[in-house]
Symmetry: C2
């Protein structure tokens, strides 16, 4: 399969234009699965709950419809971050395919001021069985909790789709460790640019990357430019958990020796 990382620079609040611009980047590169950043349609720095509420939408809202239309037209899949309006508002990511919305993940570990705005995810870490393979989803700051990628791996994920809005510098290297320890692919799609609003000045680091189960960076984007980069991968490579004749990384976990 071909996986595309879509690195964008959304304009805060310009939901329709941000979606259209991302779709125009996706049009340039043929792929089976596109992974987009966290909150790629709204931007990141909400000044208030009211502002967030005005930009949030249901999981089957206009962004889902636009992405599903693309997926149907191109017989492909896409994972993207958005603000989900449900009984509360979640920092969420959806997977859509040729038949429309497949599922939603709600961010479990909220970062910094997000805790003031969003409700904490309450449905664990989902893995979606698709014709491409088993796709797990986590969002941005979930990277710092090894339990996130581990949970997805134990539930059968071959690939971790990882929409992000990174402001700290550590995630790209840490995701190499996540891939090595779990023997999965990870596609971190980050944004670039800056937001200077809501009393905060944030710069996003870009550096979107696709890492293999052996910890190899197959694709890496820069820290300034938008872009869409693609790599051909075999998700079944993630089924190999042995690293030598005597070590199977998952079978040799020893939960009764752990403190959790």
């Amino acid at each position: 399969m071909k996986l595309a990382l879509v690195q964008t620079n959304p304009v805060f609040g310009e939901l329709r234009a941000n979606v259209e611009h991302a779709l125009s980047l996706m049009e340039r590169v043929a792929a089976d699965l596109y992974v987009l950043p966290e909150l790629f349609n709204t931007g990141y720095s909400f000044a208030s709950s009211e502002e967030l509420s005005a930009l949030a939408e249901p999981s089957a809202g206009q962004t889902s419809r636009a992405m599903s239309r693309f997926a149907r037209g191109h017989s492909c899949y896409a994972v993207y971050g958005f603000a989900e309006r449900a009984e509360r508002i979640y920092n969420a990511a959806a997977l859509v395919g040729p038949k429309g919305l497949i599922g939603v993940y709600r961010k479990v570990h909220l970062f910094d001021r997000e805790v003031l705005l969003f409700a904490k995810g309450n449905r664990g870490f989902p893995v979606f069985r698709t014709p491409l393979g088993n796709i797990g989803v986590m969002i941005c700051f979930d990277w710092i909790y090894p339990e996130s990628a581990r949970s997805l791996t134990l539930k059968g994920a071959q690939l971790i789709a990882h929409p992000s809005n990174l402001v700290l510098p550590y995630c790209p290297d840490a995701m190499v460790t996540r891939c090595l320890e779990n023997r999965v692919f990870a596609a971190t799609a980050d944004r670039v640019g800056a937001e200077d609003r809501a009393g905060a000045s944030l710069r996003f680091i870009g550096r979107s990357q696709l890492v293999s189960p052996r910890g190899e960076a197959l694709v890496r984007l820069g820290d300034v430019e938008e872009g869409c980069a693609v790599a051909e991968i075999s998700l079944s490579d993630a089924d190999v958990k042995t690293i030598n004749p005597h070590n199977d990384l998952l079978l040799q976990r020893r939960p009764n020796q752990y403190t959790s």
Copy 2:
């Protein structure tokens, strides 16, 4: 406190000489805690269980006595790897201090041919309360399981003493992630040199390092030379689990959202 990494190149089977040589390196550098490599006294590539059995010793054996004598004489502590003869034989690490043996850790995750030689550790991951602070211990390949460092952190470790005999290249970077995700210090003491015996040719990567709770490499040794390097650290830095006003990394773990 001053922590010293002791990077050695043991000669296989020369137990007494290896211990004396390590002590001579330690004599050159004053420290409160010395961390030595895995199996620093015996070497690594045992050809058979019989050979291992001949080089294993009780936790209070001759190596413990020599290290304890040094600790008493210098009012310090030391963590070192050795082959422990108990009801079975373990790949173990001991902590000694001015009053002698404090405790032993038995390697939980055995690497490659170790599974043919050693019994699996059966006492979890220990944290020892000392006047210096709370010292947790894990050995080498335990690094690839995030549960190891996490268990030590949840049990209160401020520092992870990590005797190693590394042959894969990934651990130094991964330990930076371990420190970031747990906000602890980690002292990986590795060996250098090669062993060409028991049908295997192994080269050890050295690169011993001390990493801070912020993921900074405070000390790094090379990949060829022996040596003993020291850094001054405050273990209480590891008590700070907050990374911004809204995120406490440990308090915000969400075990009911995890699959384990």
